[in-house]
Symmetry: C2
Subunit: 213 residues, 2 copies
């Protein structure tokens, strides 16, 4: 959902769009790839790159990529980093985006990271993106000018929902559940955050759930 | 060669070693993987991870990964970034290493980047590693303590050769050529830098070359 609304914002702000998808051996990777294809179809984005870094699953250490670790029931009050944290994942996504952007000479990378109303992943904090912007400056050609844009990072989930609706983002095509691929579980961290966002926005989430509470 | 000597230094400085290989669709990837296996066998390193980020070849933009761009003859006086630059490559390598290190709870990442006596890649400069260390601090769990170590970054190639010989590093098992996989061309940037290093060290490179000049 965050990526979908971020895409809607990028479509509005940019002349030309290229869409990147990264599978990383997560449980729901086929469903997420389907969402990527449907959302990019919706926006008629032709330039697409679907990549695979399944070594993140080999590395493991996360309930999303290691089937031996259970995807825990949501606990939105918990202050610890949840088991769904995929170690340093967003550095991989951004590295791929930077390499691609440098070659095709694009200058902005939009990513739907969310800080506060989220699971507390360290690689979703604004500082991470500030440092990454500096890394791009020192690690690419002198003429390369790329910066990362995080348009929803300070928004609450309910504000992301409202922004999406306002922009006509195809939220019905997005997928957030960490566990299921046909009917969302309604019970994992990602479902719980999304459902609470819709509820606080006074709206009904258009995707199917096993339970909504 | 730089990686091989860096491995020799790591073996000397650390109690426990894990070795990471990354293929990225470069022309000589099978030969480099062979070198990785032979060098890790030499050091009896059991913990190994061989990964593949061949989307870097899909992205292209480099003579190493795009067969339509010729690997140019060496020009060691050139001040521009050569066509062999693989955009932002080292950020990918380090991201994989950080994810792995965070999961297996290792705290140092050794990488054989060389600044001065090299091809002038932006992601081989000390600043790049300083910023990356900061990125690790902000992008991983609070208890994770990982830092990148670049033991050969300020050395000249001849000093790297001498350091390798001093440590008994298996330089005969290393591979540097960008073009060939059986007999090194002696003509690309990487061969030229390596050959000059051996020459300035007053030693003969043990690997076979088509020409040595």
């Amino acid at each position: 959902m965050d990526s979908c609304v971020t895409a809607a914002i990028a479509v509005q702000e940019c002349d030309e769009i290229a869409a990147l998808h990264v599978s990383y051996g997560q449980r729901t990777e086929a469903r997420e790839l389907q969402a990527f294809e449907q959302i990019t179809d919706f926006y008629r984005i032709e330039r697409r790159l679907a990549t695979d870094i399944s070594h993140l699953a080999q590395i493991g250490g996360s309930s999303l990529t290691d089937s031996r670790i259970e995807v825990s029931k949501a606990d939105l009050e918990m202050k610890e980093i949840p088991t769904s944290y995929v170690p340093f994942r967003n550095a991989h996504l951004l590295s791929i985006a930077v390499s691609w952007a440098e070659v095709i000479e694009f200058n902005r990378i939009y990513i739907g990271a969310v800080e506060e109303d989220s699971s507390g992943y360290p690689d979703c904090r604004p500082e991470f993106y500030e440092v990454f912007n500096r890394l791009i400056e020192v690690g690419t050609k002198p003429e390369t000018q790329i910066r990362i844009v995080t348009p929803v990072i300070h928004l609450k989930k309910s504000e992301i929902v409202l922004r999406g609706v306002e922009l006509g983002a195809p939220l019905h095509l997005s997928w957030s559940c960490y566990r299921e691929t046909e009917i969302a579980c309604g019970d994992c961290d990602s479902c719980a955050l999304r459902l609470r966002g819709f509820q606080q926005a006074g709206l009904i989430d258009p995707i199917p759930y096993k339970k909504r509470e």
